[in-house]
Symmetry: C2
Subunit: 108 residues, 2 copies
């Protein structure tokens, strides 16, 4: 149905799924990469960098902000986006922890 039955899953599982959404679209990966290398970004810079319209980019930024992994600050007529350190590290820990759970074994 396109509707995720999140209520039947554990909080941790929903949380990871939410965080993963920050990386599950190439445009969002590109935006995050831009933020990582440029430390800060203004939407208009992204419009010049990415082959997407301004409104589409704004929407991706909104989603990233909802997830919490980025935050924006008004700077005159512009908006200064940057990575939210706390959430970033939280996401990093969640993923690294998850990946660490795997212990190779010749099972199949």
């Amino acid at each position: 149905m396109g509707i995720t039955k999140s209520e039947v899953f554990k909080k941790r599982q929903n949380h990871m799924a939410t965080l993963a959404k920050a990386f599950d679209h190439p445009a969002r990966v590109a935006i995050l990469e831009y933020l990582l290398t440029n430390r800060t970004c203004i939407t208009n810079d992204l419009v010049n960098q990415l082959p997407l319209s301004q409104s589409t980019i704004s929407q991706h930024l909104k989603e990233l902000k909802q997830i919490g992994i980025i935050k924006g600050e008004v700077e005159g007529p512009k908006l200064n986006y940057c990575i939210d350190e706390k959430v970033w590290e939280e996401a990093r820990d969640v993923f690294i922890n998850f990946f660490a759970k795997y212990v190779p074994k010749n099972c199949c």
Copy 2:
């Protein structure tokens, strides 16, 4: 449009987005967690564990298999799923690398 313009993004970005899809739904996180602790699984076990129908679970398994992060082996009338070590480690590297790109700074 619901259609992702993947052709305009870099391979790396699309690759990460694809891998992230393995984790962007709580049911898939739950399936992977089950595989992590049980090392192996038969679909029917999951049907008993998760509050989702058999067909829905089968679909999630199919997607995980398409991503490549799990693989399945026929075992009589059953199917034995397990984590694909190579892809798992590849995903781990991609994510860890990405997370490592962030250097905290008081920017905003």
